[in-house]
Point group: C2
Chain length 396, copies 2
């Protein structure tokens, strides 16, 4: 199949492509209702899009009381690659032009092995998806990395948990390897983008998306656009001080949020509790697996283990305190909680909600939903596909 070569020639075409992406197939008339263009102008732009091959007309829709309309849809062969690189695992997925996930692979990974090794693995996973017949090539790829990114160039800058990536030209290198356009962003921003596109944040303009995985980060969306900050490190809330002069943190300061709660901190605290004999449930699991993870704590909590529940509650309280501050500051319309620890579920959510509703201003919390993300591990890859499609569906 021929790959996507053309780009929309103007903002009208870009607008139409995004409508077709987000709303699925549409007739010219339906498109006309959404774009404030005359039917004649619209027909011209659709015609040009048909000529480029970016969209196709396939078949007639059912009549709605008059002449049947032609279905216009994005080229069915378009394929986007979504890659979400985490600290300890990687997700790779293929989507169609409507950003529906056609195939999704997750594999363990150590991001510290550096970009070369990681990309080898990612390319192998992409090849596997291709081999399974889901795609015969990619029209674009979005990449999420667990650290700050200089966005326009797609280059990680001073990423704490992946020092070997500092300055590595991810965008350029992967574009070469894959032979298609590539965009790179922080993994937390992509999760926010994913939940905005297809998850709980669909109708939200200003919202926060807190991702609690190995570390803690926060995606910030202002007026529907991801806010990345001056140097690309916005949302890096893991090292906000939760307890002045509190526990020492790996970063050198004391009392950072991540020293109290994150996937890593939770595993550590659970191990400690198990070794001190505070929880038979956790001790059992430690014995069996050799180590504990956030998932073990979630399982123990589900089984009613008091220690596990306490750990989750305490972590949720700390996190909630920090989020409460952010809510006062940012006054979002929605807060989404996601990431690896979503498995901790409503115990965690309840603790966070309690703190936020108690500490933030009534005006800011009055109508503020605090909810779990609904896409799980798909959020990142959908966000990645959305990122590259936004890029490709804008005027060249």
């Amino acid at each position: 199949m021929r790959r996507m070569t053309a780009r929309p020639a103007n903002t009208h075409q870009a607008r139409l492509l995004r409508l077709l992406r987000d709303g699925g197939p549409n007739s010219r008339a339906q498109l006309g209702d959404q774009v404030d263009l005359s039917r004649s102008k619209l027909a011209v732009e659709v015609e040009r899009l048909l000529e480029t091959g970016l969209v196709v007309a396939d078949g007639l829709a059912a009549s709605r009381g008059g002449r049947r309309s032609h279905n216009i849809r994005l080229a069915p062969g378009l394929r986007f690659l979504g890659v979400d690189i985490g600290a300890t695992s990687v997700d790779v997925a293929v989507t169609n032009a409507e950003l529906e996930v056609l195939g999704h692979i997750n594999q363990p990974l150590d991001v510290r092995e550096g970009p070369v090794a990681v990309f080898e693995q990612v390319l192998a996973m992409a090849a596997k998806l291709k081999a399974s017949g889901l795609a015969d090539g990619f029209d674009g790829a979005g990449i999420g990395v667990p650290g700050p990114v200089r966005f326009p160039e797609g280059i990680p800058v001073a990423p704490p948990i992946m020092p070997g990536w500092d300055g590595f030209p991810v965008r350029e290198a992967l574009s070469q390897e894959l032979g298609c356009p590539v965009m790179v962003d922080n993994d937390v921003n992509l999760m926010a983008t994913g939940e905005q596109h297809a998850g709980v944040a669909r109708s939200a303009g200003d919202f926060l998306c807190v991702k609690i995985g190995t570390g803690i980060g926060c995606g910030i969306v202002v007026g529907g656009e991801v806010y990345r900050g001056t140097t690309g490190s916005a949302g890096d809330i893991g090292h906000i001080v939760a307890v002045p002069d509190g526990r020492p943190c790996a970063c050198g300061n004391r009392g950072c949020l991540e020293a109290y709660f994150s996937g890593a901190a939770l595993a550590r605290d659970a191990t400690e509790a198990a070794q001190q004999g505070l929880s038979a449930e956790l001790a059992n699991r430690l014995e069996t697996n050799g180590s504990l993870s956030a998932a073990d704590v979630a399982a123990a909590a589900a089984a009613g283990d008091a220690t596990a529940l306490d750990l989750i509650r305490e972590g949720g309280n700390r996190t909630g305190q920090v989020i409460a501050g952010l809510v006062s500051f940012f006054n979002p319309g929605l807060v989404v909680i996601g990431g690896g620890v979503t498995g901790l579920g409503h115990t965690l959510l309840a603790a966070i909600r309690t703190q936020v509703y108690r500490q933030s201003l009534p005006l800011a919390t009055g109508n503020l939903p605090i909810v779990l993300g609904e896409l799980g591990p798909a959020a990142g890859v959908i966000g990645a596909a959305r990122l590259i499609s936004d890029h490709l569906f804008s005027p060249a």
Copy 2:
């Protein structure tokens, strides 16, 4: 003089008006260099603006080696009213179309007396400025109030320190009284706008403006635009928890930043210290004035009083800790400190800087200036004038 009646008919005209406002008189050729329009089109739009009376051509500029150019400038009779209502005082100023302050009055005031009493005073001050010959009427007015505002309607919502204002239609009422268009915003946002227009933040895209007066607030600017949040309460950082389970605060929670530092907290702590005999300097001033204010603490600190300096340092440390968190979260390109306590000067600034540079991530602080505002009490009124001029200089 005839008041401004027309509004720009399109974005080009709006753009030209703003260029003339921010850059002063310009020739058609100079304007052409800035707007990416052909000279012919530009001449047409300028001609239309001349017809409306929004701009005038007055005289010829010196030759730069060729034909002398005609100076185009905003109508010299345009006058904006800037009003900055604080908790305990009010600033009213008149500006010309270039937002230069022509006259400025400050008077004490108790905002809790409610909108009717306050507006009576404000209107009297405006009349005084008119009587002094600086204006014979106003083409627009910007109003700053110390609380959250539903921005489009210009109505305060649930303002903690001015409960009598809740739901009062400030914009509509003042528009009636003044007979000109009015825009209303939070005082902190207007300070940020003022420093952005004519102060230290002139070239900043994303920045924070922390105003420490009777309370503490923070103006948030994203991409050159003030961010107000979902319900207009963004930047309300006074009740972020600085010390978990710390001092009780008037809001009912414990450990709020404002319980530790603000004009009011500083005055209270200084009074306490004076009564406990910790500082002869402060005790003296308490004796003389009957009460202490932030200005007294500033004076004592300037005189070398150790207790006063300690109070400032401790407050700066608390504030700095909170700002450090905001810097990690928001990753601004600049932090401006302003408000009534700017008189505490570099002792305060040094404490804040120390905390932020120590606690925030290197990537976020690496090139982050933290500076005092340079406009002082003029920031608010200039911001107010800028607010209404932005409104009037946009297509109707």
